[in-house]
Every structure is written in structure tokens, then in C-alpha cells.
């Protein structure tokens, strides 16, 4: 079988990994500059599509057309996400069972955005192996429902990948740990990423990784931590700089750029507070510079209630596994947000033992995906993962009550059969409504699909016996088949997914993805150079307004000349020249920046932006 890569498609960052033939160990595939993490950010610039770090640098400059955390919208309907839309600077619109994002006049769906990230990882792998790569295992949160899994698979197809398996993130992580001589026993995997939370309880024995129970929350992660910090900062700024804000008529909450600046500063502060007790935060605005110290205690007060939300799912998973916490042999931490000390403390309290994270929590899921890929390719035969379906599957019955066919935490693949019949003489079509969730009423569960069983021979009411088989495959994705038992005729079923893309949609997007291909390397480098130049130019203009009087006439003239030269270079096509002039302008303003820093109160950092300082993300999904 041909090579299969393992991909962790994360909320904040994504990675690709493979199993090395010589060592039989999984390895992360780096990009040409040696970076493993690819920020899951896609910028739809007028001159091309950017992805990863290049796109991340567009977050503040082009908030409306730079899409991040798109995983939160995968397989979701407008109703599901409308409450949090106001926190995103890009415009999300309702569509046919799926949301779409308006990026500068073009409508893109979440699977298409994810496809750009996947394609970049595919290309990274191809450059690494120097051969085409077509097959992949992609991970999803264990608590993802059918629609979210299908959306992920669609994204893979749009990216030109044959998705041979969708595998759950915490279980993938357990496989990676398994390779590193995980002792046998019962383990709990606590996986808190950028946007999702999962907990899985597994029994590891004789190379079999049997999931006993899983639980989680697909809308809880580091993003939410950032958001509460950001809102707190916003309030603080509005209070501390009330006068300046009123004078300038600034509406921070509606200013996409300012909010992105705040969000990134919040994220950076959170990350620093995982290792430091206190941190300084400086955000320059046009009219003033905001400065503040945040302590770890501040952070913990802000995120306490969010962290507490991870505990009930852990208790439910233990109860579903029929285990007490004393029966858990090991607790493993996965996901960047488990670096937050408060998270670690709560996990330790809950399970009554210190959790461990020997493997890099950012990489372990991708490494596990590579192991699963190698199992599927036939390269590993002594390990087997037996996973479960996270949510109960049922059908709507009379009165809107859900009748459960496959309970949650059933080992997959699994199937259930149900008999249907007609209620009117001569009826040839029977409807059914398939749902996923733990609530009793259909309206409280996730609608997966409405089916029409057609082509039933006209018979008196109640006579036809239609047997419908619901099969959840090893990907956790539902397949439905039906046959009429009296005539042994396979009834033709029409499936109307409640959410998601149709087959035709996916095919069209595959086509389009070629048309709207990512900008080629040269074009991309030029765009990046221009963007960087633009960023520096913006800062210099601002610095001259705020700190101009600090320097002499000659220095001001030198800066202005350097600025004009860069502006001219930026209009051209020569990216080396743009780079050179950018460096020159930076150099020309160093002294000014120093003076401004001295002048700024309480050690403000001057003309550099907080986002720049934390430009390279040092951790995944935190």
C-alpha cells in the first residue's frame, strides 16, 4: 500500500507526521524552514491565498478576510454558532445547512478553508518525500458528531487527499504514548486544545487500545481562555483610557484590527503566564499606548469557570466506563492548553494523581495519527485501536421522542437494525429522522439526516416490513441501508443531510480549489515582503506622530527618506529590494524607538507591537 501520512488538523495549529521506516517511530514533518507547527490560519488576500505563519501575520492587518479557528465552524449550522459570531472579525453567514464566510466578496465554507491548511501539509509532505502523497489519516476531537466528521472528510477531499481514516485525537495520542512503552493498564487522556476538549478512558492490553468511554465539549479550549482575557482587557482599556477614547471617537469593540491586536496580546500573555508568575502587556493604539501587568492569579480568576467545565465530562466518562478514579493507572495530558498550570492542578485534583506529559502535547496527536496510518498501511500489525462512538444515535418517534438505536460509547464499527412500516394503505414512501445526542427530545438532539425510504410496493398499511440498517464505521461516520423484507427489494433511500455539503458541492469545491490555488512560492514571498513592509510603514507613521518631537530635524529627515524609499520599493516587484529597504527603515528608526521606550510610562515597549513580539507561535492550540 502506498504511503499514508498522519495529520492533526487543529483549531490553532496543524501538523503532519509519518512513521520512519528505519526507527519505526513517528516523526513530525517540518517545513523548509524547520518548523513543525503550521498555524491553522488562512488569509484570502486580493493577490492570492496565504496559509500558516504568512496568514497569521495578516490577522491584524486584514481581519475581515483572514480566517482562524475555523474548526469551531466545521459541520456546524448557523444556529449552533450565532452566539459567538460577534467575537470573530470575519463575516459568517447562514447557508444551506452549513455556514459560509465572506472573505472579500467570495464565499467560502469551513471545509474549504480547512482544505487550504490540509493542502499546505500535503505539499509539505510531498516536498519532504519528493513524491506525491495522496492518502491521509486525519484526526478529529473524539466528541465530534457525524456532521463534524463528515465536514473534516470533505475538507480532505477538497484538498485532494484520500482520507483513509478519521481518528479521534485522544486515542491517537494514546497510540503515540503506546509506542513509547506505555505500561499496560487503564489510562485517561485529557485533551484540551485550542477549541475543543475531550476526555477518553482506555484500557491498554496486549497491544490493543480499547476505548471504554469518551466525553467532551467541542466548544471549549484555549480560544475561550483568550476571549475572556480579551474582554477583560477591553473593559480595562475603556476604563483607563476613557478620555482618549472619547476624544478620538474610537469604538474598540467594533474595530476588527484593534480586537485582533487584543486577542493576540491576550493569547501571548496567557502563554507567558504558564511559565511566569507575572507579565507585562503593551498594546499601542493610534492615540495612546495601553500598558498593564497581568499576574497568574488574574489569569486563573478569569479562566476558573472555563477550566471547571472540563470536570463534569471527566466524571461522566468515568461513570460510563464503570470505573472509579482510583482504577485509573495513568493520566496523560494532550493539547497546548494543558500547559496552563490551573488546568494541571484541576486534573490532578480530579484524578487524585499527577498527570504526565512526557511527549510534547502539541505533537503527540499528529504522531499518533502517523501510527494509525502505519497500521492501515500494514506496517504495524501488533497494535490495534478499538474506538467508540461518542454520542448516542437514535431516530425520532411519535411525539418527537428519540428512540436510541446505538448508545454512546459503543465500540465501532457497530450496527443496529430497525423495522419500519407504513401507516396508510398504498403508502410508498416512509420518512425517518436520524439524530445524535443524549437528550430525550428530538428537538434537543443534533439532527443528522432525514431519510426517505422510497419505492415501497403499494400494500395495505402495516404490511410492508422495511429493515433499515444503521452502521457506524471505524471513522465514526454513519451509513444507512434499507431493504423491504417481503419483496427482498432494496428500497432506494434518499438521504437529505441536515447539515453539511452535498456530493455535488464537494465535487465543485475540488474543481474550484484548483482555480483558487494558493499563491505560488514566488508570489507568496513577494506578498509577504510587501505585507511586512506595510506593517513597518504603519508603525513608523504612528511613531512619527507620537514620538516625532523626540528626535532632531536631521534624524527625522533620514527616517522620512528611508520611508519613501520603502514605499517606492513596495510598489515594485523586487522582493529582495523590499526586504532591504524594510531593514533600512527599521534601522533608521531604532533610535526613535529607544527614545519612545524611555519616554513611555512604566517601561512600555515602544513602537513594536505586542503581536510582533509573540509573532512565532511557540505552542500549538494553546
Amino acid at each position: 500500500m502506498s504511503r499514508i501520512i498522519g495529520i492533526d488538523l487543529g483549531t490553532t495549529n496543524s501538523l503532519v507526521a509519518y512513521v520512519d521506516d528505519a526507527t519505526r517511530l513517528p516523526r513530525i514533518i517540518p517545513d523548509s524552514e524547520g518548523r513543525g507547527l503550521l498555524p491553522s490560519v488562512v488569509a484570502f488576500a486580493p493577490d492570492g491565498i496565504l496559509v500558516g505563519d504568512a496568514a497569521r501575520r495578516q490577522l491584524v492587518r486584514r481581519p475581515q478576510s483572514t480566517v482562524y479557528s475555523v474548526k469551531r465552524f466545521m459541520g456546524r449550522d448557523y444556529e449552533d454558532v450565532k452566539d459567538e459570531l460577534r467575537y470573530f472579525p470575519f463575516k459568517i453567514q447562514p447557508g444551506e445547512g452549513i455556514v459560509s464566510i465572506d472573505v472579500g466578496g467570495r464565499q467560502v465554507t469551513p471545509p474549504e478553508v480547512s482544505a487550504v491548511v490540509l493542502k499546505a501539509l500535503k505539499e509539505r509532505a510531498e516536498a519532504f518525500f519528493k513524491e506525491p502523497v495522496e492518502k491521509a489519516v486525519i484526526t478529529v476531537p473524539a466528541y465530534f458528531n457525524d456532521s463534524q466528521r463528515q465536514a473534516t472528510r470533505d475538507a480532505g477531499r477538497i484538498a485532494g487527499l484520500d482520507v483513509v481514516r478519521i481518528v479521534n485525537e485522544p486515542t491517537a495520542a494514546s497510540l503515540a504514548y503506546g509506542l513509547h512503552r506505555l505500561s499496560e493498564g487503564v489510562i485517561a487522556v485529557f485533551d484540551l486544545g485550542g477549541g475543543t476538549f475531550d476526555v477518553s478512558i482506555l484500557r491498554v492490553k496486549d497491544g490493543i487500545f480499547e476505548v471504554l468511554a469518551t466525553n467532551g465539549n467541542t466548544h471549549l479550549g484555549g480560544d475561550d481562555f483568550d476571549r475572556v482575557i480579551m474582554l477583560w482587557l477591553l473593559e480595562d482599556i475603556q476604563c483607563c483610557h476613557h478620555e482618549e477614547i472619547v476624544r478620538s471617537g474610537l469604538d474598540l469593540a467594533r474595530d476588527g484590527e484593534a480586537m485582533q491586536e487584543l486577542r493576540l496580546a491576550a493569547e501571548a500573555a496567557k502563554i507567558r503566564l504558564s511559565t511566569e508568575e507575572r507579565t507585562q502587556l503593551t498594546i499601542p493604539f493610534a492615540e495612546f499606548t495601553y500598558h498593564r501587568e497581568i499576574t497568574r492569579a488574574d489569569l486563573e480568576r478569569l479562566i476558573e469557570s472555563l477550566v471547571s467545565k472540563t470536570l463534569p465530562p471527566c466524571r461522566r466518562a468515568l461513570a460510563d466506563a464503570g470505573l472509579g478514579r482510583e482504577q485509573i493507572d495513568q493520566v496523560v495530558l494532550v493539547g497546548g492548553s494543558t500547559r496552563v498550570p490551573l488546568v494541571r492542578r484541576r486534573v490532578e485534583e480530579l484524578f487524585g494523581r499527577p498527570p504526565h506529559s512526557h511527549l510534547n502535547p502539541d505533537e503527540v496527536v499528529a504522531l499518533g495519527a502517523a501510527v494509525q496510518a502505519q497500521i492501515l498501511a500494514g506496517g504495524i500489525t501488533d497494535m490495534l485501536l478499538l474506538d467508540v462512538t461518542p454520542l448516542s444515535l437514535g431516530i425520532e418517534t411519535l411525539g418527537g421522542i428519540v428512540s436510541v438505536l446505538i448508545p454512546r460509547n459503543t465500540t465501532i464499527p457497530t450496527s443496529a437494525r430497525e423495522m419500519f412500516t407504513t401507516s396508510i394503505d398504498g403508502q410508498t414512501v416512509v420518512d425517518m429522522h436520524v439524530l445524535q445526542g443524549e437528550r430525550e427530545l428530538a428537538k434537543d438532539c443534533r439532527s443528522l439526516a432525514r431519510f426517505e425510504l422510497r419505492g415501497i410496493d403499494p400494500m395495505p398499511a402495516g404490511l410492508p416490513k422495511i429493515e433499515v440498517t444503521f452502521l457506524i464505521d471505524a471513522n465514526g461516520i454513519l451509513q444507512v441501508t434499507a431493504r423491504e423484507l417481503r419483496t427482498a427489494k432494496a428500497a432506494s433511500i434518499e438521504v437529505k443531510p441536515s447539515y453539511g455539503l452535498s456530493e455535488t458541492d464537494v465535487e465543485r469545491m475540488v474543481e474550484e480549489s484548483f482555480q483558487y490555488a494558493e499563491a505560488d512560492v514566488n508570489a507568496r514571498l513577494l506578498i509577504e515582503a510587501r505585507n511586512e513592509a506595510e506593517t513597518v510603514l504603519t508603525h513608523v507613521r504612528r511613531a512619527l506622530t507620537q514620538g516625532g518631537p523626540l528626535v532632531g530635524e536631521a534624524e527625522r529627515r533620514a527616517i522620512t527618506t528611508a520611508r519613501e524609499e520603502l514605499e517606492r520599493a513596495r510598489a515594485g516587484q523586487d522582493r529582495d529590494l523590499i526586504r532591504e529597504k524594510t531593514t533600512a527603515l527599521n534601522h533608521a528608526t531604532e533610535h526613535l524607538a529607544e527614545l519612545m521606550m524611555d519616554a513611555a510610562l512604566k517601561g512600555a515597549l515602544g513602537s513594536r507591537r505586542a503581536t510582533e513580539i509573540m509573532e512565532s507561535p511557540s505552542s500549538k492550540d494553546q
Binding site: M1, V164, R165, R203, K205, D206, I208, E210, L212, R315, R316, A319, D320, A321, G322, L323, Q372, I375, L376, A377, G378, T381, L384, L385, L386, P407, T410, T411, I412, P413, T414, S415, A416, R417, E418, M419, L471, D473, A474
Partner: protein, 195 residues
């Protein structure tokens, strides 16, 4: 192929959990789609079906109560889908107490609980939980053993006893859940301990 046949077992209720798990792992290695990923589509479809059948069989047989539920259905030639085979039925000796509980529950639903009623209901729920465990222990222990021992002609009698016990258990479960809801407690306490 019924669940017992999947594991190559006779229709007996005494099953060694450790041996069953070992066999499940062995058969998983044989059937799981992961080990058939590079075979023909027909072979893959077969592996998928065999794997689904194996998982269903294991899920049912590893749980002593689900196992009896399944056996009752199988013996009576009924549909063998998962779930309780018997309708809930109150045991005669509890009828009076049940009547009181239902009344208190109705009141609670109408107007909330006062402290006294709450205490009484909590106590009653505790007693019913104990009774529920007792019924399960009787099913998994003596009744299962009786079935395995019974000669062909004695089997209908044992089966009838099992059915009565299953109906009682189902009834207790419902009342316990209702009480739990009224008292604002979760149902985690009666969650199956099958591992």
C-alpha cells in the same frame, strides 16, 4: 449467527470475563477493518460486518444483565436487538410503597419538595437502589447459575424467573431515575459496572 456463536460459546450465562475479553481481542485482530485496509472492497465490507457483529456480541455478553436479556429473547425467538427485553413491572411486595412514592413524586412535580418529603424520598431511593443491586446480583448469580444447571425441561421455569426479575429490575430502575430527577441527582449511581 447469534452472539454466543460469534464467540464459539454455548448458550450459557456463566461466562469468564477475562477469557471473553481475551477472545474479543483475538477476534478483533482477525476482523477489524484496520487490518483489511488494503484488501478488495468485498473483503473490506465483510470485515466491517464481522467486526460490527463481534462488537455487538461482546457488548452484550460482557454485561451479566444484558446477557440474560439477550438470552430471554433468543430462547423465545424474539428480535434480538439490544435493550431491555421485559416491560417494567412492580414487585407485589413493593406495591404499597410504590404508590406512596408515586404520590409524593406527583406532588413534587406540582409544587416542589419540602424538607421532610425530600428526606423520605432520599431514604426510599436508597432502599430501592439497594433492592435494585440485590435484583441484579440475583440475576447475575443464582439465576444465571440455575439456567446453566437446568435440564431441558426445567428451563422454562428458570426463564420465567429470570423474566420476572428483569421486569422488577426495570421497574426499580425507572422509579429510581424518576426519584433522582425529582431530587436533582444524577443517574450515575446506577450506571452499569461492566468493566
Amino acid at each position: 449467527m447469534n452472539h454466543f456463536e460469534v464467540f464459539g460459546l454455548e448458550r450459557r450465562l456463566g461466562i469468564d470475563a477475562a477469557a471473553l475479553q481475551r477472545r474479543f481481542y483475538e477476534l478483533s485482530r482477525r476482523y477489524h477493518p484496520d487490518f483489511h485496509a488494503s484488501t478488495s472492497p468485498e473483503d473490506q465490507a465483510q470485515a466491517l460486518a464481522a467486526s460490527a457483529r463481534l462488537n455487538a456480541a461482546y457488548r452484550t455478553l460482557r454485561d451479566p444483565i444484558a446477557r440474560i436479556d439477550y438470552l430471554v429473547r433468543l430462547e423465545e425467538g424474539r428480535e434480538t436487538k439490544e435493550g431491555a427485553s421485559e416491560k417494567p413491572k412492580a414487585p407485589p411486595e413493593l406495591l404499597e410503597e410504590m404508590f406512596e412514592i408515586q404520590e409524593a413524586l406527583a406532588e413534587a412535580r406540582a409544587g416542589g419538595l419540602d424538607e421532610d418529603t425530600r428526606r423520605t424520598l432520599t431514604e426510599q431511593r436508597g432502599r430501592l437502589l439497594a433492592r435494585h443491586h440485590e435484583e441484579e446480583a440475583r440475576l447475575a448469580g443464582p439465576l444465571s447459575a440455575a439456567w446453566d444447571r437446568a435440564a431441558a425441561e426445567a428451563r422454562p421455569t428458570v426463564l420465567a424467573e429470570c423474566k420476572a426479575a428483569l421486569a422488577t429490575r426495570a421497574y426499580l430502575r425507572t422509579v429510581i431515575d424518576d426519584l433522582g430527577q425529582a431530587l436533582g441527582e444524577g443517574d450515575e449511581i446506577v450506571a452499569h459496572h461492566r468493566h
